[in-house]
Amino acid sequence: MKAWEYVINTAMLGTDKQIPSPADLPEEITGVAALIDASETADKEVKFLQKAAAIYNYRQCGFTPLEQKELPVHTASPETSPYCTEAASAILSDILNEEPTALLGLWLSHCHQTGKILLPDVLPAVLDVALKDKSLQPLAVACCGNRGLWLSGLNPSWDYFSTVSDKELWQTGKPDERAGALEKLRTTDPDMAREWLQQTWPQETAASKADLLKTFRVNAGAADQDWLESLWSEKGQKVKEEVVYLLKRIPGSSIIKLYEGVLREAVMLKKEKALLGMMTKVSIQFKLPSRIDEAIFKSGIEKLSGQKSPFSDEEFIIYQLIESVPPAFWEQRFEAAPAQVVQYFEKYAPAMTGALGMAVSRFKAASWMPYFLHLDGFYVDFIDFLNPPEQEKYLLRFFKPDPRNAIHYALQLKQEWSADFAITVLREMANYPYEYNRASFNKHIRLIPVTIINQVKAIEPKDLNLLNTWAKNRDHLLKLLRLKQQTLNAFNA
């Protein structure tokens, strides 16, 4: 409004300068303005303030809304799934107030499993949490219904609803999206993933080559061997390192054959008759050949054991080589079954048993694992290959000698703990209340079963000085367990 602009302009400069003349005023105000101007007693400032007040009132009374009848209609599609109950939504609000994304994930997964969707008023909060925690995005997308999809179209931050195919991501995505798409394909169709990368390999930069090759760590196998062997000539150091890393995990690769060749000469299982042939004396002898192909040292085998190492340099080289060959090699070499091989190592070369165990881990030789479970070494990679009760049993063995490590791996289990195991873990956690604090419980609440809710109160640390700190964590844990219980009840889970 022009008259108001004059008021502002005049006020900015001050009344010593120009003031709005009656000609600039709307018709309805000119009469009032003339009366004000005619006053003989009022000074310039009063006249301005009075006219400005009249214009101010005129402005307020004369507002007209903007007319825009042609705006495109943009509404959310009707929902096809039923909403969750108000009670379940109230629990969700409580969960959102506690910031535990693990509980939110649990709530959303139950909501999704029961075919329900979120009530509209919590959608922005859930979409915001999923924006920060990508692992929640698929569930958020599934539970937010058509209203969520509609909202994501309006708020660019929530664009994770867009369903771009992996192939499209591979062809047009950002570097991390391409690597993500390739890694996803490696899990389902490793051969196709290799073909994708082979097609674009000449156009890839050295940095992206190394990153994309890393995705081959998923399901690396014999089918990849030929192509990986052909990459020895690559110039990039990081690419070479990744190629070596991968080939060292593919039985039958040139590197592994090289290692096996050295071990064939270096490790001998000797069986000698003793006590007039009544007994057989068995021993394993380790002796590196006088000439070793330098290529094995270029592939990452260290020559020197270090001052504090219990091994000599020669033993250390052999130890690394044993770690790096598939355990099946020893079946052939010793002409013995896996159980027998492990027994030989344990009995006649105990210092090298760890290396064999590491080889079992590295080559995921599941059939060998049972023979190591009773041994002293803690082979963390075995855990994924055991069934849940075995996993807990295996971890329980290490709670006494190495509780923190055992807790660390217990927290990485995929499934909810059994009640007894949970109590054992929590008893140990109570001794480290600064490490296993509220944030830690927020993150891992999915693992802790609600059935122990009444037993948690009795858990106390060994050091009573830590009791107060633990008590706060414990109260928080109880609160989370109650929320978990309410969530399960709300969805009849």
Partner: protein, 435 residues
């Protein structure tokens, strides 16, 4: 009377109380609990040896708890209400225990005594003398204020953002000394203008002209309409006895709390409760001033419904009111709410009010069928006829509004002026929600 969770949270004095109350909404925390039409009660096992006795008067939403908390309502009161809202089956309908019936009995006795209370005789001569003395002080203060305003206008407002706090505070103190607390508040508000905002000049001039209008009109009070005189006196800071107000006939209605906001002013918490009369279609503002650490008389939250008699302060545009007596009733369905049908109707209404009272404060309005739309990279509310008013940039819950709307029109309460408004609450399903 069943409050929704949102309504219960709105009663909390702060976020920490909300959180603590939420934690107490678990059956295991309560040793005993019960309900009847008058009260809700429970015993909560706290850190003390005896459980805390928590009770809620359901007829007027009042709290009492034996815990030592100075917060009001305390976390136990909130937790008990939340538990009742979530799991009503856990509360058997039973007789009140002695500790509850005693409190409820005392409350009704107090109400009766209040009603019977007779006024002390007033020394009218002394009162008139005090009044005359105050008016002289106000006139002297206003003279100084008008000179100050003219100085600003003469020098121009270009350099106003450079003025420090003492500049505004000095004039505000002079107004307090002149017993014109209302003018002091406007001066402080003027100094609190966000000078970093683009277009601060317009909002500054709005406030300066309001200040000028009030101050100038006080000098011509005798020739002004009596109701408008009351508005001017009230804007200057003259108060009106609430006992006097209560003697007047009020408006009996079912009042929906359409919005509630609190702000801290020095040692006071000023609570604004906006009400809408479902039968009378009138709006009202009920203010509550709570001194730090003390308890407010009213516990209202958005979406709550009261059966109440309200007395309006005399005004050319009656808006501010006090509640004479009230009881909580169930929230009505949306069908009972008749609001403005579009922005043009709102504009006509606002014009009428502005013509009666040019320096009035913002009033909420219930408008039907508004939908949030994006136009020229800004959010607007569009009515059924296609007219738009923009959503104030101070409104932070646009995504929640959109989530509730889904692009469909909603009946909502908005507050603002001219073509900029801020939603306070919406009807969604059968519930009225604060937003």
């Amino acid at each position: 009377m069943q409050l929704t969770e949102d309504q219960i949270y709105a009663l909390a004095p702060d976020d920490a109380s909300k959180k603590a109350g939420r934690d107490l909404a678990a059956p295991a925390k309560w040793v005993s609990k019960g309900i009847n039409p008058l009260a809700l009660w429970g015993e909560c096992q706290g850190s003390g040896s005896k459980p805390y006795q928590t009770q809620v008067d359901l007829t007027a939403i009042a709290f009492k708890c034996s815990c030592p908390s100075r917060k009001f309502p305390c976390k136990h009161g909130l937790g008990l209400l939340l538990l009742r809202a979530r799991q009503p089956d856990l509360f058997p309908d039973s007789d009140m225990p002695a500790w509850v019936s005693e409190w409820i009995g005392k409350r009704s006795e107090k109400e009766e005594k209040k009603a019977e209370k007779t006024e002390k005789p007033v020394d009218e001569a002394a009162q008139a003398k005090r009044q005359q003395s105050r008016e002289q002080k106000v006139i002297a203060g206003i003279d100084g204020l008008l000179v100050w305003i003219k100085d600003i206008i003469r020098g121009g407002i270009l350099t106003i953002p450079e003025k420090d706090g003492a500049y505004w505070d000095g004039m505000a103190r002079r107004m307090v000394d002149a017993q014109a607390s209302g003018l002091a508040a406007i001066v402080r508000d003027l100094g609190a203008t966000n000078f970093w905002n683009e277009g601060w000049q317009s909002s500054f001039m709005d406030k300066l002209l309001q200040l000028y209008l009030v101050a100038e009109s006080y000098q011509h009070l005798p020739i002004i309409d009596p109701l408008l005189q009351q508005d001017i006196r009230s804007a200057i800071g003259f108060t009106m006895s609430q006992d006097e107000l209560k003697k007047q006939d009020g408006v009996n209605d079912t009042w929906l709390v359409i919005g509630k906001e609190s702000r801290d002013e020095q040692q006071l918490t000023v609570e604004q409760n906006w009400l809408y009369g479902l039968k009378s279609k009138q709006y009202a503002l009920v203010l509550q001033f709570i001194v730090r650490g003390q308890v407010g008389q009213l516990s209202l939250s958005t979406g709550m419904c009261l059966e109440a008699e309200l007395s309006y302060y005399p005004s050319a545009v009656p808006f501010r009111a006090i509640i004479k007596n009230h009881s909580i009733t169930p929230t009505p369905t949306q069908a009972n709410v008749a609001g403005f049908t579009g922005w043009q109707q709102v504009a006509e209404h606002e014009t009428e009010l502005n013509s009666k009272l040019p320096f009035r404060s913002e009033m909420p309005l219930v408008v039907t069928a508004l939908k949030p739309v994006q136009y020229q990279k800004q959010w607007w509310l569009q009515d059924e006829q296609g007219y738009l008013c923009c959503i104030s940039s101070s409104f932070k819950n646009i995504w929640q509004l959109l989530a509730l709307s889904g692009g469909e029109p909603l009946t909502m309460t908005v507050i603002g002026k001219e073509n900029e408004y801020r939603p306070l609450g919406v009807w969604h399903g059968q519930n009225y929600k604060a937003i």
